[in-house]
Amino acid sequence: MSAVSGLLPTRSGSGLGRLGRVAGSPLLRLIVKRVLLAIPILLGVSVLTFWVLSLIPGDPARAMLGMNATDQQVATLRHEYHLDESGPHRYLDWLTSALHGDLGTFMVSSQSMTSMLGDRWPVTFELVILAFVVSLGLAVPVALLAARWPGSVFDRISMLCSVTGLAVANYVLALLLAIVFAVELGVLPSIGYVSLSHSIVGNLKSMVLPTLAIAIPLFCFYTRFLRGDIVDQMQSEDYVDTARAKGIGPWRILWMHAFRNSSFGLITIVGLNVGTLVGGTVIIEQIFALPGLGQLLLQGINTRDTVVVQDLVILFAAIAVLANLLVDVLYAVLDPRIRYGSR
């Protein structure tokens, strides 16, 4: 045995042996596989976004400077922002800088994108997280109750609310919520954002209406989906009959068996919703005057700032990829067959 072997921990001990086991775990292999798969996806999205943005007619530098600008001034600005370089060159420049943590500059204001994203991401992140927490927190118990007694008054009311909620666009709902809770009842603000560091209560109050405007349609969708799936499982699956035959109570069957199985579908939908939801914050942030990423994206589009749009599209894509990675991990946690690759 060499000196090196003396440094290695024993098989039964902690350290490298444990690391080895972790490295060999199917879950970690799954995560690594998904992360590796995310790289070409994000590269593909970035190339596609860059290409689409380059197809938009007109010169951003001319648009920014106006017709009063001399050709020299336009050329200087184009050079400053590398607009005079070829598309592939600009893309590689952007990619290299982004990989080094430099996300470029918001052309019209000369502000660093890194600092702008740093200022704004907490708003959008909080909004999205709260919307998911509220929608899932409400949807699961309501769907379980409705599925426990299908056809009951509670079931019918919950389904009616779901259908109605799905039929109302979130911006209409946003205005309606503001009318009721801000204008009529005066209990919540209809615009503006209070940061968590400034006041926790103020922050939560400022986020209630935007959160509800996003969460209510989601809650309706999740409730409808989950209730239908659980009822289906309860009525047609053999394992439910077996459980009943064993004398297991209906609530336990519902919670431990049917819901656990239905949660696969729910997790898939939640994962798929993330991208749409982050995009959906653009309108809600505009209505409630929240200084988040959605508002920034709108400014970027209005000013034809390709760097802003590119950065934000990639960020949104990364969030969607990450959400789907989490979904895959949750699958594996819930179902060992996936973890060990037997399915």
Partner: protein, 548 residues
């Protein structure tokens, strides 16, 4: 059968819900209404008592217009400076201001940080004397050297906001002593003074602060000599200001704090006002909301004297409007009078030119103007073998409504129309790219040559023109080259007749947006009318106060 029964059951359940939603909507609509109408003239001619100092005010601005300032608030680079009057006036004050009496009449340009001005050399030289003793909020002196530095920087800026001055090549703008600035031009400019309050050169920035901060930082934390100083600024989102202790007007500003918040349109703004989250909103253009605000006892609604009529700009530099027949077809197919009655429930006077009833040199009619004639429009479209038009406008409620009405009218004449609604920056891009076809905009200003004036829409040198016609330029130059009001009136009438004769752009009625303030807030331009310099009125923020 079971399906039908299910549907019926659903309908029975949906019925009460629909009623519930309707009740909520009705209650919310009625709850905010009151029989007390504040009228549309705000507090014009009303004695509201002695102004009081102190307090804070939150003012909402539409993020698509005054609340949009993505390029920052540095006067030399704020591409939307003409729209950002509230922010710019609050921070920088201004060399000159447009003021009116408490009824909104007798409007005139008055020196503010300037003490006086005069013209010499046949109008080619303008001399501005500065008010002594003014300091920037950073304590540095507001002197002629700084004003010259600002004006030269503005003039040389590649920004579309740069002043279009015909300056001499040698010593165009010079300081004489500490308090005199002399501007040398190659030709007289009679409207130069009217242009100031809406031009970026009106706002003088601290050179010392600029040099200390650098250009990028200065855009978000500009330093001026206006009534307020910047506390924090999130571009196109929120600008928090506090009283400038060094402000040169004794006892002003009245307010301790002033915050501008950008909102996504009239509806959220109105709701925020109703919820008590803001104290004022500038530039409300949604007619039903203006009506509702007028019936609400909580608000004072001030509709400013309308100066800028709608105009359908036609891009005469490309097909189809490089053909006069296509332009004539648009004239004959357009009935602004019907739009006024249909959309605004009032017979707003339709202008035949670029001046509205509240502006200087207004004429009720222009001889030879082609009025609505559907048969002639159809005939022209037939002769052209069809006419397809892309019509655009700024994404503002009223403008969108008018655009849709125009689309309907034009389609009746056989014109194929597609419409586009753009944010302000996108409108600028459309014009600068030259790809546009027809654009519904407003023309003129209080003085036809000021701000978004007639030259802005029609002069060959403007980035926002659809016309390049030396003869028309000549008319504008002549009108701008004299300070004699009678001569200017005649020249502008000639220009209006020429535009009409060439069918360059049909004009419509002038509609001015309204300012809404909660009761207890008072101030010139906010609760008393002042003619709109371009679109919105310039509120004199240093004189705005609230009852404590």
């Amino acid at each position: 059968m079971r399906r039908i029964a299910n549907v019926n059951r659903r309908a029975r359940l949906l019925g009460p819900l629909a009623v519930l939603v309707a009740v909520v909507l009705a209650v919310s609509a009625c709850g905010s209404s009151s029989s007390n109408s504040s009228g549309a003239n705000g507090e014009a001619g009303v004695n509201v008592g002695k102004p009081q100092s102190g307090g804070s005010l939150t003012v909402l601005e539409d993020s698509g217009f005054a609340g949009g300032y993505a390029s920052g608030l540095d006067p030399a680079t704020d591409t939307t400076g003409g729209a950002n009057l509230p922010q710019m006036q609050s921070i920088f004050g201004g060399l000159f201001l447009l003021e009116a009496d408490s009824k909104g009449q007798n409007a005139k340009i008055v020196p503010n940080q300037a003490q006086s001005y005069s013209f010499s050399d046949g109008g080619r030289t303008m001399t501005i004397k500065l008010r002594p003793g003014i300091k920037f909020s950073d304590g540095t002196p507001f002197d002629a050297q700084t004003v010259v530095w600002n004006m030269l920087r503005d003039s040389k800026s590649p920004c579309s906001c740069a002043p279009v001055w015909q300056l001499t090549k040698k010593n165009p703008i010079v300081a004489k002593g500490n308090l005199t600035v002399v501007i040398h031009m190659t030709q007289p400019n009679g409207s130069l003074i009217s242009n100031f309050p809406i031009s970026n050169v009106n706002w003088i920035a601290s050179k010392s602060a600029f040099e200390k901060m650098g250009a990028a930082k200065f855009k978000t934390a500009p330093v001026g000599a206006g009534p307020f100083t910047v506390v924090s600024d999130k571009l196109s989102s929120e600008l928090v200001l506090k009283k400038n202790p060094n402000y040169f007007k004794k006892g002003l500003p009245y307010l301790d704090n002033l915050t501008f918040k950008s909102v996504g349109g009239d509806q959220p703004a109105y709701q925020a006002l109703e919820a008590g989250q803001a104290d004022a909103y500038e530039g409300m253009s949604t007619v039903p909301l203006i009506d509702q605000a007028q019936k609400n006892s909580k608000f004072v609604v001030t509709q400013e004297p309308a100066t800028s009529p709608y105009v359908v700009q036609l891009n005469t530099m490309k097909a189809p409007f490089n053909n006069i027949k296509a332009r004539e077809a648009i004239y004959y197919a357009t009935d602004f009078s019907a739009i006024s009655k249909g959309l605004f429930k009032q017979d707003l006077p339709v202008s035949g030119s670029f001046v509205g009833p509240g502006g200087l040199f207004y004429h009720k009619s222009v001889p030879g103007y082609r009025s609505y004639d559907l048969a002639k429009a159809k005939q022209l479209v037939k002769e052209l073998g069809g006419l397809t038009v892309q019509l655009g406008t700024t994404n503002i409620y009223t403008a969108n409504q008018v655009m849709t009405a125009l689309q309907t009218q034009w389609q009746k004449a056989g014109i194929k129309v597609t419409t586009h609604s753009y944010a302000l920056n996108q409108v600028i891009q459309q014009f600068t790219s030259g790809s546009w076809n027809a654009m519904l905009q407003t023309a003129g200003a209080w003085d036809p040559a000021a701000g978004v004036g007639v030259a802005f829409r029609f002069a060959s040198t403007s980035p926002f023109t659809g016309v390049k016609d030396p003869k028309l330029d000549q008319y504008f130059n002549e009108a701008g080259a004299t300070t004699d009001p009678t001569k200017r009136d005649q020249d502008y009438l000639k220009a209006a007749e020429y535009i009409s004769q060439k069918a360059y752009a049909p004009f419509g009625f002038a509609f001015s947006p309204a300012n809404i303030a909660v009761k207890g807030v008072h101030g010139p331009g906010l609760t008393t009318p002042i003619p709109g310099l371009a679109v919105n009125t310039q509120v004199l923020w240093d004189q705005v106060w609230r009852a404590q």
